[in-house]
């Protein structure tokens, strides 16, 4: 295998750059063949053992371990052929300027290899998904750069304007004027999307869509001059990228979730990134994010919560134990306390519980926490 070019910035910026990186990947393979060696390429190992927590940045990233993908090898031949097929298909998407989902890509590549080979190129999407990641890491691009979008999930509202260059048109979207439903965060906020005026003081991320609607109805973001985001559970790539971009504009990011390991994990995935997406590292992590609540210690300050706890589920307990084993979480004493409290009481508090006294109490709680800077790290 030939030596690959040195890594460039993970964000190529222009589709032409991505296009030529794909082409170069192919050219290097042809050179391998001409040199009489098995065509191959190198990609970072995405195995868990190669996921490290980067202290200096505060996010999960891949270590230095590399893996070679090569064709003339029984164990790899099929995957290699499939990877090249994916790369070639993405090159075509870029050329045409068309986008599809990774499921759409799978269907584009689900065909029989031919009369002599009784086998499909791909017969299950689980085969193609990891190969997309292989290409992403091999040529240092994101799948969104390869014109592959993901399902949209997440809604935003607040004082900012987005210019969306879509096809031949450019649309201006005022996130202040999205009514009760908000602006659905696109899967790709990098290519063709521009944030023209961001006038907010901070970003508030609330775990649940229902809570976002409550706060939107309260006019919370108007009163607070903040950008209100909900990932609707675990944050999608697009939502994380959006928060990341806003954080890069020096906006503080505050996260509000349930008081349970599940909610806290959503916070930690937003903050430090996740194992699965470690290859995207700090392009997707927001180490600056801070946690508002709900916390176990809130019970002391808001005594009504005492009666609004519910029983923690088995998955909450398991996830809490798991989180305690992550050094980047367990280095924070406050979090260890919180997690141990969950394990001890086996109770949890939903963010919705803050509507207990009155519907608008949530807003009061958030304001109080944010202005008093009562955060967890």
């Amino acid at each position: 295998m030939m030596k690959k070019k040195s890594e460039k910035s993970i964000l190529p910026g222009s589709p032409n750059e991505v296009y030529s990186r794909l082409e170069d990947l192919g050219i290097d393979m042809v050179k391998d063949i001409d040199a009489g060696v098995s065509p191959g390429f190198e990609t970072a190992s995405r195995g868990r053992s190669n996921v490290k927590f980067d202290e200096s940045v505060g996010c999960l990233r891949l270590g230095d371990r590399k893996e070679e993908r090569t064709f003339v090898n029984v164990g790899q031949a099929k995957k290699f052929m499939q990877t090249v097929a994916v790369a070639n298909k993405c090159k075509k998407f870029l050329k045409e300027g068309s986008h599809t989902s990774i499921r759409g890509l799978f269907y584009q590549l689900k065909f029989s290899l031919g009369e002599s080979v009784d086998e499909e190129l791909f017969s299950d999407q689980s085969e193609s998904n990891p190969l997309i990641e292989d290409i992403e890491t091999a040529i240092s691009v994101k799948r969104e750069d390869l014109n592959l979008y993901t399902d949209r999930k997440g809604v935003v509202a607040g004082p900012m304007t987005i210019k969306d260059k879509f096809g031949s048109e450019e649309t201006t979207i005022d996130c202040r004027k999205q009514g009760r439903s908000g602006y659905a965060i696109p899967s790709d906020v990098d290519n063709g999307i521009n944030f023209v005026d961001v006038e907010a003081d901070y970003v508030l991320v609330v775990e649940k869509d229902a809570m976002w609607q409550r706060l939107n109805e309260d006019g919370f973001w108007k009163k607070e001059n903040c950008i209100l985001v909900t990932p609707k559970g675990q944050a999608s790539r697009g939502t994380r990228r959006l928060i990341r971009k806003l954080a890069s504009k020096k906006l503080p990011v505050y996260v509000f979730t349930d008081c349970d390991a599940w909610g806290w994990y959503i916070y930690w995935a937003i903050k430090a990134g996740s194992m699965n997406l470690a290859y995207l590292a700090n392009d997707i992590a927001i180490p600056e994010a801070r946690f508002i609540g709900v916390t176990m210690r809130d019970i002391k300050e808001y005594s009504f919560l005492e009666n609004l706890t519910i029983k923690a589920k088995e998955v909450d307990i398991k996830r809490a134990q798991e989180m305690l084993s992550y050094p980047w979480i367990s280095k924070h004493e406050a979090w260890v306390e919180e997690l141990n409290q969950v394990l001890k009481t086996k109770r949890k508090i939903e963010q919705d519980a803050l509507q207990g006294p009155r519907l608008s109490f949530v807003s009061e709680y958030l304001k109080e926490k944010i202005h008093a800077k009562k955060f967890l790290p």
Binding site: M29, I33, R48, K91, S274
Partner: protein, 543 residues
């Protein structure tokens, strides 16, 4: 007196016909299929022995015709020296009249009661005599022979003589037998003759079966095996009944002491004295014919306590690696064959023996049963096939006790494998008078195991070679199948080169790698490539 006369003058007569008439199963005449096989065995071994003695390459033809239900006409013809007129009666009509009985030689039939046993069987089941044609010198003698059960004498009738130019030679015996059955089981005549042919590659054996089908087991080696040297029986090889029979047949020695000294090997006057001192109450000066069962028991017991010089080893002759190889190749046409001969070893403190073993795989190896193919074991003692009593035989036991999976033969029970084991010795350690199974003498069992394991290892090497060859081809094809698709995509992705050109180059690359066996040892699925996509957080709901 000519050579033939000398051979046949050694017949000794014994009156036991009446006894055997009542106990015919002792001669192997039990069961319908087995009886017919025994008949063929007796005639064919006589022919083989006769041909070997005459230094003639044996050519034996066997014909079996069904004349009625469970009634057959048998005709066996050989090309040996023929039997002189005056000896025909003794060979076919007198019990215990064989040359072999008294001249202990490594030979196929060791009892010399065979041909007469057949005559008796014919008489008992059909009431007819056997018909014998003997061609020798410039004569052809034809006659019928019967056994006189009262006197153990032969009744020869219808004697006719013809002159000939000397070109005809050999014995033809014809007889009818009832209460017998021809079938294709492993106890049957066909299987017996096949096995005989395998062990006697210098012989050509033809069988015309009752269905009118002719089976020819061709001669695969020209060389006639050397004639085993006749030796006297060695004390260590004798069982009580052997000794008793010998003693009772003895008509030359006046005393037991001289009988022992003259009739057995390695017995000196000094040894007789030693034996006498060990056998309190046995009168060594009485006539050998008066030896009692009790005397024989004590003497045989004493044999085991005396130090003996080992028997002469030139009396034992294996089939030979080359001969077994050629015969198995010609009869089984196997894909793989290994033949091993172990060096001579000694059992029971002094009896030399040699184990030969062979393993054949593929071709006509193994036996066909209803469920498919099964391994078959061909057992031989002094190149005579052991057809019956396989369950109680050390050869069968040894083969079955081998852990075949350790030789890479996991489904051994379904493989087309033929295993041949021949034990060669002046005294074969049979389990009983039927002489169809080898007893579990420790040294013999050990040698059988070693020999079979040696050939098993050879087969293992062959099979693993095959596997890796097959494996390599499979690996190559596993990569080749993707060349077409890859070449097309790569041509487009790189914008360089055409699909056809890339395809050609890739095929060359792959062919080169998998034929030159330059494959890297790490040609396997890398850990992370296999698992990279599926591991990770279960709650990443991105799509």
């Amino acid at each position: 007196m000519g050579e033939i006369d000398k051979v046949f003058s050694e017949f000794k007569e014994h009156s036991v016909a009446e006894f055997f008439k009542k106990n015919r199963q002792m001669l192997g005449f039990s069961g319908k299929t087995r009886s017919l096989t025994t008949i063929i065995h007796e005639y064919v071994t006589n022919s083989l022995d006769a041909a070997e003695e005459a230094k003639v390459a044996p050519e034996i033809s066997v014909e079996i015709k069904e004349i009625d239900k469970e009634k057959y006409h048998v005709r066996v013809q050989d090309n040996a020296l023929g039997i002189p007129e005056k000896h025909i009666g003794k060979v076919f009509g007198v019990m215990l009249a064989g040359t072999k009985f008294h001249r202990y030689v490594q030979q196929r039939g060791q009892q010399g009661i065979g041909a007469t046993g057949c005559t008796m069987f014919s008489q008992v089941t059909t009431g007819k005599p056997v018909h014998v044609i003997s061609a020798y010198d410039k004569k052809v003698v034809t006659c019928d022979v019967e056994v006189d059960f009262k006197t153990n004498g032969a009744l020869v009738s219808n004697m006719a003589k013809e002159e000939q130019d000397g070109s005809r030679r050999g014995v033809t015996v014809e007889a009818d037998f009832a209460e017998v059955k021809y079938d294709k089981s492993s106890y049957g005549v066909f299987e017996y003759l096949k096995r005989t042919a395998i062990a006697n590659p210098h012989a050509k054996i033809t069988l015309l079966d009752p269905f009118g089908e002719t089976h020819v087991f061709p001669r695969s080696v020209e060389q006639i095996p050397p004639k085993p040297m006749p030796v006297l029986p060695h004390p260590l090889g004798l069982a009580k009944n052997d000794l008793l029979e010998f003693a009772h047949a003895d008509k030359e020695n006046m005393k037991v002491s001289s009988f022992l000294q003259n009739s057995l090997a390695r017995v000196s006057a000094q040894k007789v004295k030693e034996l006498e001192s060990l056998c309190a109450g046995v009168d060594f000066s009485k006539k050998p014919a008066d030896m009692s069962w009790d005397d024989a028991d004590k003497i045989v017991g004493a044999f085991g306590q005396v130090k003996w010089i080992a028997p002469a080893t030139d009396a034992i002759i294996p089939i030979g690696q080359e001969q077994i190889t050629k015969s198995l190749q010609s009869i089984l046409n196997p894909e793989f064959l290994s033949v091993r001969e172990r060096p001579p070893k000694i059992y029971r403190g002094g009896i030399p023996f040699i184990i030969e073993a062979a393993i054949a795989y593929g071709g006509q190896s193994g036996k066909q049963v209803a469920e498919g193919t099964q391994p078959e074991i061909l057992r031989y003692a002094n190149r005579a096939p052991l057809i019956f009593d396989s369950a109680g035989c050390s050869i069968t036991e040894s083969v079955k006790n081998i852990e075949w999976s350790r030789y890479g033969l996991k489904n051994f029970d379904q493989l087309p494998i033929t295993i041949l084991v021949n034990i060669v010795s002046v005294h074969i350690p049979y389990t009983g008078a039927g002489k169809q199974a080898i007893s579990d003498e420790e040294e013999v069992v050990g040698e059988i195991r070693s020999a079979v394991m040696e050939v098993a290892r050879d087969l293992q090497r062959h099979m693993s070679g095959l596997r890796s060859e097959k494996d390599r081809a499979a690996r190559k094809n596993a990569v080749l199948r993707y060349v077409g698709q890859l070449s097309g995509d790569l041509a487009e992705l790189s914008g360089k080169d055409t699909k056809a050109a890339l395809e050609k180059k890739l095929i060359l690359l792959i062919e080169g790698k998998y034929t030159k066996q330059l494959e890297e040892s790490n040609d396997s699925i890398p850990e992370d490539a296999a698992s990279g996509g599926s591991e990770g957080d279960d709650d990443e709901k991105e799509e």
